[in-house]
C-alpha cells in the first residue's frame, strides 16, 4: 500500500463562461519518502491539482470528487472540520508559490511558524516559539528573525521561513507549488539545496509542482506530466529524463537544453488547450505530430508500458 493513493480525482470550477475542468480524473500513487515532480505548461492544471489534494477549494467549485487515500484512509470522505483537525498541516502541508504573500504582514515570522504547533498540538506558546526558532535555524535563517515581521526579510529568507513553517509539524506529505519561481537564480539554487538536504535527512514525501523541467530533475524520484487537466505520463525520474514515451513528454525534453551534449532544440507548436472545452479524444492531438485518426475520436487509456511507467497515448495501447 502506497503512502498516497489518488484515484480519479476531479476538480471542476464553475465560471461565467462555463465549467472549467482543471483536474479531470487524475490518478497516481506515491510511496513514503518519494518525491513526485508534477510538470506541465502554464494553465495545465498543476496548481489546481495541488489545491485539490490539499482541499483548498475556491468558492466556485462545480465538481470535487475522487479518492485520496493517505496511509489507507480516504481523506476525501472526511468532513471539513475533521479534515482541518486531522489532516491540515499535521499530515499534509504546503509551500506556496510566491511566499512573500503567504506570510501575514502584521504577525511576527516566528509566531506564524509556531502557530500550527499551538493550534494542532496544543503546544504552549513559549515552547512553540522555541521550536520555531530551531526550525528557522534548520532552514538557514538566523533565529533573531523570528521576532521580525515578514517585510523585514528578503525574498529568499521568506521562502525559507515558509519552508520551515511547512515542516514544523512533521507532516507526511509536503506539497510545494512553484516554490522558487519568484526568486532569482542564485536564491533558487540555495533553496533547492536546502530542499535536497531536508529530503535526505528527514525522509519526507514531497510533491513538487513546477513548469521548470530542469529544476524538477534535482529533486524528483518520480515524474508526472500534466496536460489539459490530465496526467499523460507517470514514471520514474531517470526513466522520464532519458526515455520519455508520450509525444508531449518527448517534445518537453527536446525543448530543454542540456549542458554537455549538442542538441537541436525544438518547440511545441500551437497553444495549450482551453480547460473549458478541451479537444475531443486525446487532448494533445492538435499539436501532436504522431496523431492518428483514432486520437481525434477516443480518449486514450492509461497503459503501463513498463513497471511503474504509465502513458496515456494510443501509440502504446
Amino acid at each position: 500500500m502506497a503512502m498516497l493513493e489518488v484515484e480519479n480525482l476531479r476538480l471542476y470550477y464553475a465560471t461565467r463562461k462555463g465549467v472549467v475542468k482543471a483536474v479531470d480524473r487524475v490518478s497516481f500513487t506515491l510511496e513514503k519518502g518519494e518525491t513526485l515532480a508534477i510538470v506541465g505548461e502554464s494553465g495545465c492544471g498543476k496548481s489546481s491539482m495541488a489545491k485539490a489534494i490539499a482541499r483548498l477549494l475556491p468558492r466556485n467549485v462545480h465538481t470535487y470528487d475522487g479518492v485520496i487515500r493517505l496511509d489507507g484512509k480516504n481523506i476525501m470522505e472526511m468532513s471539513d472540520e475533521e479534515y482541518r483537525r486531522e489532516v491540515r498541516w499535521r499530515q499534509i502541508s504546503m509551500v506556496f508559490q510566491g511566499a512573500q504573500n503567504a506570510l501575514n504582514p502584521v504577525l511576527k515570522v516566528g509566531f506564524q511558524i509556531a502557530e500550527p504547533l499551538m493550534i494542532h498540538e496544543g503546544v504552549p506558546k513559549e515552547e512553540a516559539l522555541a521550536r520555531a526558532r530551531k526550525a528557522l535555524r534548520m532552514v538557514g535563517v538566523h533565529e533573531s528573525f523570528a521576532d521580525r515581521y515578514p517585510f523585514e526579510l528578503s525574498g529568499g529568507m521568506r521562502q525559507r521561513a515558509v519552508i520551515a513553517m511547512a515542516l514544523i509539524t512533521n507532516p507526511k506529505l509536503v506539497i510545494l507549488d512553484e516554490p522558487t519561481s519568484a526568486l532569482d537564480v542564485i536564491t533558487q539554487a540555495n533553496i533547492m539545496n536546502l530542499l535536497k538536504k531536508i529530503k535526505r535527512e528527514y525522509q519526507l514525501s514531497f510533491i513538487f509542482i513546477t513548469h521548470d523541467i530542469a529544476l524538477s530533475s534535482e529533486l524528483a524520484d518520480r515524474v508526472a506530466v500534466m496536460y489539459a487537466g490530465q496526467i499523460v505520463e507517470f514514471t520514474d525520474a531517470d526513466e522520464f529524463y532519458t526515455n520519455p514515451k508520450h509525444p508531449y513528454s518527448e517534445k518537453l525534453m527536446a525543448s530543454v537544453p542540456t549542458l554537455r551534449s549538442e542538441k537541436k532544440l525544438e518547440f511545441i507548436p500551437g497553444a495549450p488547450p482551453s480547460l473549458l472545452t478541451p479537444p475531443p479524444g486525446c487532448r494533445f492531438h492538435p499539436r501532436c505530430d504522431k496523431a492518428m485518426p483514432k486520437c481525434r475520436e477516443e480518449e486514450p487509456p492509461e497503459v503501463e508500458v513498463k513497471e511503474r511507467h504509465y502513458v496515456k497515448c494510443w501509440l502504446y495501447a
Binding site: A54, L56, R84, R85, V87, R88, W89, R90, S93, M94, F96, G98, N101, A102, L103, N104, P105, V106, L107, E115, P116, I119, H120, Y149, F151, E152, V162, M165
Partner: protein
C-alpha cells in the same frame, strides 16, 4: 515594539500637525479679513471695552458725554498703537494669528453663552461637548454596524442580503441631515412619538437619570438619520474590503495550515485590514464634523453646529471666525489621535 520609537513618531506627527493648524488658521484669518471683517470686530470690541472702562472709572465717571468721548478716543488710539493694530496688514494678521492659536477669540457681538459670558471661546467650548457626544456616538455605532455586517456579508456574498445592499448603496449619497428632515416629518410631525429636536425635554428633568434618558430620547432621530445614511454603502464598503483581503495569499495559507475559521477571520483578515479601516473611519469622522452644522440646525441640537447657524443668522462675525478656528483644531486633534492608533496597529509604521 520600541516605546522610544513610538514616542518619537507621536511627537513628530504632533509637531507637523500643529504647524499645519497654524497655516490653516492663518489662511482662515486672511480670508476672513479680506473684507476687513476681523479688523472691524477687533477694533469695535476694543473700543467698547475702553468705553466701558472709562465710564466706570471714578476719575471720568462724572464728566459730560463729550469729554468722555474725547478721553475714550484718545485711549483707543493709544491702545491701537500699543497692540500694533495700526500696522500694515501683514503684521496685524500675525497678531490675529497669535490670538487665534491661543484661542483668544474675542467677544461675540450679540450672542452670549449659557453661563452669561460673551467670550467667543466660552460660547463655543460650552457647546462643544454636545456635538462631540452626538457625532462620536454616531461614528462609533456606524463603525461597528459596518464592521460586523460587512464581515457577515463577505462570508455570505452573493446572497439576497448582499444583492439588496449593493442595490441600495446609492442611498448613502443622501446626507444624514436630509434623512433627518424626513424622520422629523414622520416621527415628530405625523406620529408625534419623538421630539422635533433639541437636547432635552423642556423643562429639563431634575433627576439625573431622567435627564440622561431624555437626552437619549432626543438623540434617537439624529443618530438614526446618520445610521440610515451611511448604512448600505458602509456595509458594502467593508464587505468588498474584507472580500479583497480574504483573497490574499496568506489567508489561503492560513486555511491550509488548518487554522479554525474564526481565528483566520480575526488574525488574518481583520488585523491586516485595520490600517485602511481606520483611515476610512478617520475620514468619516472628519467629514462628520463638517456635516454637524446642518444636522444640528435641522434638529436644533445645541452644539457647535447650532452655534454656527445662530452666528450666521445674527451676523456675529467673531463667533463665525472662532468656530472655523475651533473646527480646524478639532480636525487636527482627530487626525492626530488616529495617527497614533494607526501607529499602534501597523507594524510597518512603528518600526520606520
Amino acid at each position: 515594539m520600541s516605546f522610544k520609537g513610538f514616542v518619537r513618531y507621536t511627537a513628530r506627527r504632533g509637531i507637523v500637525l500643529f504647524l499645519v493648524v497654524v497655516v490653516a488658521i492663518y489662511i482662515t484669518i486672511i480670508v476672513a479679513n479680506m473684507g476687513g471683517k476681523i479688523d472691524e470686530f477687533v477694533k469695535g470690541d476694543l473700543y467698547l471695552q475702553i468705553a466701558q472702562q472709562v465710564k466706570r472709572d471714578p476719575q471720568y465717571k462724572n464728566l459730560p458725554g463729550s469729554e468722555q468721548e474725547k478721553i475714550i478716543k484718545a485711549k483707543y488710539e493709544q491702545e491701537i498703537k500699543r497692540l500694533g493694530l495700526d500696522k500694515p496688514f501683514f503684521q496685524r494678521s500675525l497678531i490675529y494669528l497669535k490670538d487665534a492659536i491661543t484661542l483668544n477669540l474675542g467677544r461675540a457681538l450679540y450672542m452670549t453663552s449659557d453661563s452669561g459670558s460673551k467670550l467667543v471661546r466660552n460660547i463655543i467650548l460650552e457647546r462643544l461637548p454636545a456635538t462631540v457626544l452626538l457625532f462620536t456616538t454616531a461614528m462609533v455605532i456606524n463603525f461597528f454596524i459596518h464592521l460586523f455586517l460587512g464581515l457577515y456579508l463577505s462570508r455570505n456574498y452573493g446572497s439576497l442580503f448582499d444583492k439588496i445592499v449593493i442595490a441600495l448603496a446609492p442611498t448613502s449619497t443622501i446626507p444624514g441631515w436630509f434623512y433627518g428632515i424626513f424622520l422629523i416629518l414622520i416621527f415628530a410631525s405625523w406620529l408625534h412619538v419623538l421630539p422635533y429636536g433639541g437636547l432635552v425635554d423642556v423643562p429639563p428633568p431634575t433627576d439625573p437619570v431622567a435627564y440622561a434618558l431624555s437626552v437619549l430620547k432626543h438623540m434617537i432621530l439624529p443618530l438614526a438619520s446618520w445610521i440610515i445614511s451611511g448604512f448600505f454603502l458602509g456595509i458594502y464598503g467593508t464587505r468588498t474590503f474584507f472580500l479583497i483581503f480574504s483573497t490574499e495569499d496568506y489567508v489561503e495559507a492560513a486555511r491550509a495550515k488548518g487554522l479554525p475559521g474564526r481565528l483566520i477571520e480575526r488574525r488574518y483578515i481583520l488585523r491586516p485590514s485595520l490600517p485602511p479601516i481606520i483611515t476610512n473611519f478617520a475620514l468619516g469622522l472628519i467629514g462628520s464634523w463638517s456635516g454637524a452644522i446642518i444636522t444640528e440646525t435641522v434638529f436644533n441640537w445645541p452644539g457647535l453646529g447650532l452655534v454656527t447657524w445662530t452666528a450666521i443668522q445674527n451676523f456675529d462675525t467673531p463667533v463665525i471666525v472662532g468656530v472655523t478656528v475651533i473646527y480646524a483644531y478639532l480636525l487636527a486633534v482627530t487626525v492626530f489621535l488616529l495617527d497614533i492608533v494607526y501607529g499602534l496597529v501597523d507594524p510597518r509604521i512603528k518600526l520606520q
